[in-house]
């Protein structure tokens, strides 16, 4: 009798643990989505500012072309190519700010200040997103999660590699 009781208890605990793990994983996926939405929004805003800079006095025609091209590429990239495209945009912005001499106008000053603030936020957003992704990947790798397919149909999160020091 007690043998059956023990078996029932064991199954109950296992069922509870599986449901607990499934909730945990679902929450993690949700966290990844949120942090990505946040990062994506900030990057979109940066691309918009980059285009504005390209049209402003700061930039000469050649750099404008380069910047506009990079900004469009960043906006249209798929999630997997995104970090590479964004790094391209960072590079283009970096070259421009380093070489430009005529940053006197109030609008230009404003644009650059906004870009600087945004860059700080993007750094934070990347840290938050990367942490969410690594945690999710770590939990997804657990054997019982793979065995019972607790991840369901949720897509494997992609990490975002960004060269922070060029930002």
């Amino acid at each position: 009798m007690s043998k059956y009781l023990f078996a029932v208890l064991l199954i109950a605990i296992m069922a509870w643990y599986l449901s607990f793990s499934a909730t945990r994983l679902d929450r993690l996926h949700h966290r990844v989505e949120t942090s990505w939405a946040n990062l994506d929004g900030l990057l979109q805003r940066r691309a918009a500012i980059a285009i504005e800079i390209a049209r402003s006095e700061i930039s000469d025609p050649a750099s404008s072309l380069l910047l506009t091209f990079a900004a469009h590429q960043a906006r249209e990239a798929s999630i997997r190519d995104r970090s590479q495209a964004e790094t391209g945009l960072t590079g283009a912005l970096g070259i421009l700010i380093e070489t430009s001499t005529s940053i006197d106008g109030a609008i230009e000053q404003d644009l650059l200040r906004e870009l600087k603030e945004l860059t700080e936020k993007i750094k934070m957003a990347i840290a938050i997103h990367v942490d969410a992704v690594t945690r999710t990947q770590l939990v997804r790798k657990k054997w019982f999660i793979r065995l019972f397919r607790l991840a369901g149909t949720a897509p494997e999160p992609v990490t975002y590699e960004f060269e922070g020091d060029v930002l």
Partner: protein
């Protein structure tokens, strides 16, 4: 400047009545956010529920437990848990900010009970302990619910990465840098003087280390004098000190903010010989903002606050010989002392609440992106239904 007013819930793990770095950080942050027009509610353990500010809700009486080498006044248990759940349920918060959620406290309980945009701030900096291997599997599923993590120092961030394998954004604790900026030199405290602020009776504040370093310093600078500010019984402390040294000590008791600003500007050197148990070292940030040249022990929190010695001078913790040689060197070199103090003063502006609170709010915004609000966790909801509650 935030466009919309948010409902923000902050959980403080330590007893509100006992003075401490985390408590005053939470209080200042809450008041700053309220001034910005947000609705803020703080949940904290408290002994005296009558004298709490109206934004603080008591979670019950704290109990004293030894934790991490010091006595922590925290609270947990089923009654506290139900109060935490009630507070979350009634608050309908847009974001929850939990302080020190990795220690057994109401912060951990809140992290367990809630779901939605949550931010955690980690204060402690500790060396890796064996017990971490045992508690990590329990803590991980709870801590990973946090949408974003903040560490108050580089040292706290390293602790977090080592213990729980998760990264954090570094946002320092805040001070009101403006209050300390315009101190004037008071001749009572200037000259070859050493300053010390804090509860000097506590062993971990390290006054003993300074006393042991004195004879050597006196041999070089016979007119050196020590000024100590802060609450405590000076007679008790003097009993432990050689009576020949007594005339060199002046105890100022508690001093006002304005006096503190003048004090920090006037003294030749500010000494922080703390032996441990510091999570951030807010007093050092204030000393820097007041333009003092600082000599501090090289405990992790101070080391990272002072930029590994860039904004102040470090000595080997509990080594009074090292302290005396650093003091002698700096008392003899006024230019060096001044230049370090100047660097430090500029750097301390980063700790001003205007900068710090904006950064914290930026993190809140990132956590709130999904637009969902804080609710009781779904697995708890299922259990509650099963048990016939609510």
């Amino acid at each position: 400047m935030p466009l919309s007013k948010k409902r923000i819930g902050i959980v403080c793990p330590y007893g509100w009545d006992t003075p401490g770095g985390v408590q005053s950080h939470v209080g200042d942050l809450a008041e700053y956010l309220i001034r910005q027009g947000h609705y803020v509610s703080v949940l904290a353990p408290a002994i005296d529920e009558e004298s709490l500010p109206d934004y603080v809700t008591s979670a019950g009486r704290p109990i004293s437990i030894p934790y991490n080498g010091a006595v922590a006044r925290v609270l947990f248990g089923p009654i506290a848990f139900s109060r935490v759940r009630q507070w979350i349920n009634n608050g309908s918060f847009d974001v929850l900010h939990l302080h020190e959620p990795a220690i057994p406290s109401i912060s951990l309980l809140a992290c367990w009970a809630a779901e939605g945009p949550m931010v955690g701030t980690f204060h402690a900096a500790a060396k890796r302990q064996k017990v971490t291997f045992a508690v990590a599997p329990i803590l991980e599923p709870v801590i990973e619910k946090l949408s974003a993590r903040i560490a108050v120092s580089e040292a706290a961030r390293e602790t977090l990465t080592e213990h729980l394998e998760t990264d954090a954004i570094v946002v320092p604790n805040g001070i009101y840098a403006r209050r300390y900026r315009d101190g004037v030199v008071d001749s009572r405290w200037s000259g070859n003087t050493l300053g010390f602020i804090g509860r000097f009776e506590e062993k971990r504040k390290g006054l003993e280390v300074l006393v042991a370093a004195l004879p050597k310093i006196i041999a070089e600078y016979p007119d050196v004098h020590i000024f100590i500010a802060g609450p405590g019984d000076s007679q008790e402390v003097l009993k432990e000190i050689d009576s020949n040294l007594h005339p060199r000590f002046t105890f100022l008791g508690r001093i006002s903010e304005e006096e503190k600003a003048n004090f920090l500007t006037s003294i030749a050197l500010y000494i922080a010989p703390n032996t441990g148990g510091e999570s951030f070292g807010i007093i050092l940030a204030e000393a820097l903002a007041g333009g003092a040249s600082v000599i501090a022990s090289d405990i992790p929190a101070f080391d990272s606050l002072l930029g590994h010695g860039k904004y102040g001078t470090l000595f080997e913790s509990e080594n009074s010989a090292d302290l005396s040689s650093k003091v002698i060197e700096l008392l003899g070199d006024e230019n060096k002392r001044r230049s370090i103090a100047q660097e430090g003063k500029r750097y301390a502006q980063e700790f001003d609440w205007d900068v710090v609170a904006e950064k914290i709010y930026d993190v809140y915004e990132m956590a709130m992106v999904g637009g969902s609000t804080v609710t009781l966790s779904s697995e708890n909801r299922a259990w509650n239904k099963f048990l016939g509650r609510q």
